[in-house]
């Protein structure tokens, strides 16, 4: 049925166009032969096609445009006629003889245009007559198009200031009056459109109406273009009149569109100076009008205006823009009881944006807006309306973006309250935004109180908010979130160790509540933050010692020990082990032997009890050896214990090559270059010999199995260690031993059952080259190397 309707309409349009063209043809002929009578006759007939009621506005527009083009030709003809001496006044009467009103008025407007140009009568009088006569068309669509035509032909002929049609004093008033009247009438017609035809087609009609809105709005645009509409005129005449019409028409579509139109077409400074009037109209609009969007747009414009230049800011203060907007929003929200939460929040969000632009110094305003919003939300709990949620996020993000400083935002007492209303997911997102802002601006959070406030704000990321809810959290997302928290922890810093310790404690308190999933992410940064603090304390330990409640490394290590323990329980033994070792080394630097020993002990326990994967063991043992090698705080006994165990672990690794490498690495535990107390050449050699034995065994096993040559590299590695200690002056390492090893390797590599290994070859070659290099260097080292034959 609908498609039939459309088809019919196409037919009707085609017929109307055909009729129009036919008459236009005769009209052209009359124009060509200067036959005024026929020209009028056929033009009137042509225009009669516009009398149709069958077309939708869209199709009617098409027809109208064709008539419009034809009328331009007719207008030219009238102009010619007037030049040839035909009285334009007579012409003006003549066209009024047409019996049908619609063609008559189109012709009248067309002649009127020429009449104004002729200046035989004041433009204002003619315009007034035209706009008055157009009242005869009460049919909405036809009336709108006729008046649109009038508007079109009169645009350049208004008796505006500076226009050639400007008459005596105050004719600009007439120009304004004319446009206002046309606007008013058009709006009435437009509003009336909705009552035309059966109510079942209402929806379609509203759509059609919407398509015509610009015809009405055009008038406001024209008004904004009138030179003579200065602020005074706008304030005293234009705005009140337009608003009167807007309010009185009681139509939501029109009210919404026109309010928006006013806001968009007139200059910002006018809005600013007439804010009270404009805002005053808002609560008077129909409850169904989307006033929040209107107001938001207004505030957006004003915000942009404020942002355009600092010079305009005093204007805002002078007119108390904030108070007025705030007041208006309150009233609108009050008046529109049915306004969805999202709407109210949008309004506050816009006001906030405005405030941040205009009054960046007024944090109290910002808090006030948030407060008002929270009040509106009170009792609503967590919102499940995605629009409202989005708006709250916007509301909360705006101050972050503006101030680029979380500390400022933390001063807003209502901020966390507003955040409370976000659902868990969004709350997390918002927390992410907050962290992002901090990161972007590299804001340092410098007191424990602020940290406390901040963590309260982002608690959605710090711990599970709702115990019942175990939503499927995407693993990647979770990682990202937690990593962002980790980054955030890096931003918490105060130069004062006391405050810093408080910060560490505060963070610790919060992250320990995060549960096993979060700890692996949040504990390491805390540990390193604390270790940095420890390092800072090292210089000043003496003066601080003894005082109660004062930050001391010892105290911090105690905290850290417990913290890592929590992590170890998760369990993430490898990470915990690494952290224990980091702490141990820090304790070493702080000369706290028992503490360092405790950390090592913890690490060993983890190694023994928790780390079972062979590769993880290899990694761990090398870290242990590497760390232990650097420890200088231990007395002989402690050191022996730890070293003994490390060596033991090394020898117990699963794979022979790993054993071998760990064991020869242990050699360094007995020989520390810059520590004369730790230079036990014998035990170094023992380690290396043991490594050789293991390498040998490994080699034999491999050969028995498949004849792999890969393991020969172990011997070269051990050779390197020999050379290392040889150079370092370990007298246990003899030339003979080195020589023997070189020969062993060479033999091994040349043996028949060995497939060649280029890596081993290269390694050996570069090692031998090295020996050669050292020989040639001369001096003590050259002498030392001299006996070695490579």
């Amino acid at each position: 049925m609908i498609s039939d309707g459309i088809e019919d309409e196409e037919k009707w349009l085609a017929a109307a166009i055909a009729g129009l063209q036919q008459n236009a043809f005769y009209m052209h002929r009359a124009l060509d032969s200067n036959n005024l009578r026929d020209a009028l006759k056929y033009s009137a007939q042509m225009l009669s096609e516009l009398r149709t009621s069958r077309l939708s506005p869209h199709k009617y527009y098409e027809l109208y445009m064709r008539a419009f083009d034809e009328l331009r030709k007719l207008e030219m003809f009238f102009k010619e006629e007037a030049r040839r001496g035909c009285s334009i006044i007579d012409l003006y009467e003549l066209v009024q003889h047409a019996g049908n009103i619609l063609p008559r008025l189109y012709l009248l407007c067309t002649v009127g245009s020429v009449y104004i140009k002729s200046k035989e009568a004041p433009a204002k009088d003619i315009l007034k007559d035209l706009v008055e006569m157009c009242r005869g068309i009460q049919h909405p669509v036809r009336g709108l198009f006729l008046r649109s035509y009038l508007s079109q032909i009169s645009r350049d002929k208004l008796p505006d200031i500076g226009s050639e049609y400007e008459g005596d004093a105050d004719t600009v008033m007439d120009a304004v009056e004319f446009v206002l009247q046309n606007f008013t009438e058009m709006n009435k017609l437009w509003v009336r459109m909705q009552y035309q035809g059966p109510s079942r087609e209402k929806e379609r009609r509203e759509k059609e109406r919407s398509e015509l809105r610009d015809l009405v709005g055009k008038n406001l645009h024209v008004l904004s273009q009138v030179e003579g509409v200065d602020l005074d005129m706008y304030r005293d005449t234009v705005l009140p009149r337009v608003l009167e019409q807007v309010v009185n028409c009681k139509d939501d579509l029109a009210q919404y569109y026109l309010m928006d139109c006013i806001i968009q077409v007139f200059p910002d400074e006018y809005h600013l100076q007439t804010l009270e009037t404009l805002l005053g109209a808002c609560p008077l609009l129909q409850p169904s009008v989307d006033i929040k969007t209107v107001l938001s747009r207004l505030m957006e414009r004003l915000s942009n205006y404020a942002a355009s230049s600092a010079e305009v800011l005093p204007e805002f203060l002078q007119v108390e823009a904030f108070a007025k907007l705030n007041n208006a929003i309150g009233k609108v929200i009050e008046a529109q009881v049915d306004m969805p939460i999202a709407g109210a929040v949008t309004l506050y969000s816009s006001l906030l944006t405005f405030t941040l632009h205009v009054h960046p110094d007024r944090l109290d305003y910002v808090d006030q807006i948030l407060g008002a919003c929270v009040k509106k939300l009170s009792g609503k709990g967590k919102l499940d309306d995605s629009k409202a949620t989005k708006q709250i996020v916007a509301l909360l993000s705006a101050p972050l973006e503006k101030y680029n400083d979380i500390e400022t935002v933390l001063k807003l007492s209502n901020y966390p309250c507003a955040m409370e209303h976000l659902d868990n997911g969004t709350n997390k997102v918002m927390a992410g935004v907050i962290i992002e802002s901090i990161m972007k601006n590299r804001t340092r959070i410098s007191t424990a109180d602020k940290v406390e406030a901040l963590f309260e704000l982002i608690k959605g990321l710090i711990k599970d908010l709702d115990v019942d809810l175990h939503d499927e959290v995407d693993e990647e997302d979770f990682k990202e979130e937690q990593n962002s928290v980790a980054r955030l922890i890096q931003m918490l810093y105060n130069d004062d160790p006391e405050e810093m310790l408080k910060i560490v404690c505060t963070v610790r308190k919060h992250i320990l509540a995060g549960g096993p999933k979060r700890l692996p992410f949040t504990v390491p940064p805390l540990i390193f933050n604390a270790l940095k603090l420890v390092r800072r304390l090292q210089g000043q330990e003496e003066n601080a010692a003894g005082k109660e409640g004062v930050a001391t490394p010892k105290k911090i290590f105690q905290l850290l020990n417990q913290t890592i323990e929590a992590l170890a329980i998760v369990p993430v033994p490898e990470l915990s082990l690494r952290l224990y070792l980091e702490c141990a080394e820090a304790a070493n630097d702080s000369d706290l032997e028992p503490v360092a020993y405790e950390f090592f002990t913890q690490a060993y326990i983890l190694y023994e009890e928790e780390i079972s994967d062979s590769r993880a063991q290899v990694t761990a043992i090398h870290l242990i050896i590497g760390t232990l090698q650097r420890m200088h705080v231990f007395g002989v006994e402690n050191r022996d214990t730890l070293t003994h165990k490390a060596t033991g672990y090394s020898a117990k690794l699963l794979k022979k090559p790993d054993q071998c490498r760990a064991v020869y690495a242990c050699s360094h535990l007995f020989w520390v270059d810059d520590n004369d107390n730790i230079k036990d050449g014998e035990r170094v050699l023992l380690c290396l010999k043991r490594a050789l034995r293991i390498a040998n065994a490994a080699q034999q096993m491999a050969t028995a199995a498949r004849g792999s040559s890969k393991l020969v590299v172990l011997f070269i590695e051990i050779l390197s260690k020999y050379l290392y200690f040889f150079e370092k002056g370990n007298s246990e390492i003899t030339v003979a031993a080195i020589q023997g090893l070189i020969e062993l390797i060479t033999t091994e590599m040349q043996s028949d059952n060995m497939t060649s290994d280029p890596a081993a070859d290269a390694f050996l070659a570069s090692t031998l080259r090295y020996i050669q290099f050292q020989k040639q260097k001369g001096g003590a080292m050259g002498e030392k190397y001299e006996p070695i034959k490579a």
Partner: protein
């Protein structure tokens, strides 16, 4: 200007006769629609004017015209079409121009009707005609059979019946032959601006359905006038489609049971397109000039009257018509230019 009237086709006229007015060159000419539909230009007079002129008679070459008298007659006649052919002469002024005798050569007879009282204007209505003319009668003795065969021609006969009733009568007697030549002219009388000319203002309506108030700026309009007015919609509960203003002429002829009333709609002028809402006011501006109006004639010699009405018509979407008729007076304003 010389106007010739020939007796066409009836019979071969014995002479040519023409009537001319003394001020023909300067006098205004106006169109007059004749019975046959042709429009001719005729001189325009008004009451109290002198009607002066001359008649020129030219006998056929070498022919003698014997006549029993020459006279000229100014006639004001009313013809009612239901009684067609029966002219009622309300004015008849006769001047004897010559005693009986013979005419051998051309001769001119001057004539003059001074300050003629012509109270009624020429009028061509639906059922009635008011005609002003000058008739020139040449009473000719019958000498031979002159009835033309053409007379039997129907079309010609019709013409004669319509145009020259007198001739027909003469022939029927068949004793004498009257050569009658006539000259129509038009009389128009002018009225000064009325001293009192109230507007027409009225509220009309159908209860709880439609209330309007209309206002026309005057009650008396001259022929080139324009009606300025406004229609206010005080209450609209019907779906109006459009509104028109009609100019209607009511011509009433005869008297008593023989009264014929004919109403013509001279103008249909659309005032409004679409449905107004309460509070709308629609402007009226209707120019009279495109329409062929006459002044209002209240009572022309008890024979007929012509009256004008403005009829405001509202049409609703079901094509029901709601109207209100108001009489206006139309007058002929003395043109100053």
């Amino acid at each position: 200007m010389l106007i010739r009237n020939f007796l066409i086709g009836a019979f071969k006229p014995p002479c040519n006769i023409s009537i001319s007015f003394a001020d023909a060159r300067t006098r205004k000419q106006v169109p007059l629609k004749k019975e046959n539909g042709q429009t001719i230009m005729v001189p325009l007079f008004q009451s109290q004017e002198n009607i002066v002129g001359e008649v020129l008679i030219e006998p056929q070459q070498g022919k003698k015209v014997e006549h029993t008298g020459v006279k000229i007659e100014l006639l004001g006649q009313i013809e009612l079409y239901f009684d067609r052919g029966n002219f009622y002469d309300f004015t008849s002024l006769v001047r004897e121009l010559d005693v009986p005798g013979d005419l051998y050569e051309r001769k001119t007879y001057p004539f003059e009707f001074s300050t003629v009282e012509m109270p009624y204007e020429s009028y061509n209505g639906v059922n009635v005609r008011l005609r002003w003319s000058i008739h020139f009668n040449l009473l000719i003795s019958v000498k031979s059979s002159f009835v033309s065969n053409d007379l039997k021609n129907n079309s010609v006969q019709t013409f004669i019946v319509l145009s020259l009733y007198i001739l027909k009568v003469t022939i029927s007697r068949n004793i004498v032959s009257n050569v009658v030549v006539y000259q129509d002219f038009v009389v128009r009388n002018y009225t000064p601006l009325p001293s009192i000319n109230n507007s027409i203002k009225m509220e009309v309506g159908i209860e709880d359905c439609l209330h309007i108030e209309f206002e026309y700026n005057k009650s008396k309009y001259h022929l080139k006038d324009v009606i300025i007015g406004k229609i206010y919609f005080l209450l609209v509960r019907i779906k109006i489609k459009n509104m028109e203003l009609e100019i209607r002429r009511r011509e009433s002829t005869g008297a008593g049971p023989n009264t014929y009333v004919e109403t013509e709609t001279l103008a249909k002028y659309e005032l409004m397109d679409g449905a107004p809402v309460r509070g709308e006011s629609i402007p009226v501006r209707l120019f009279f000039s495109p329409y062929e109006l006459t002044p209002t004639y209240r009572n022309i010699n008890n024979k007929f009257s012509v009256k004008y009405y403005l009829n405001l018509v509202l049409v609703d979407e079901e094509d029901r018509r709601y109207f209100k008729q108001q009489e206006i007076t139309v007058y002929r304003l003395l043109e100053t230019s």
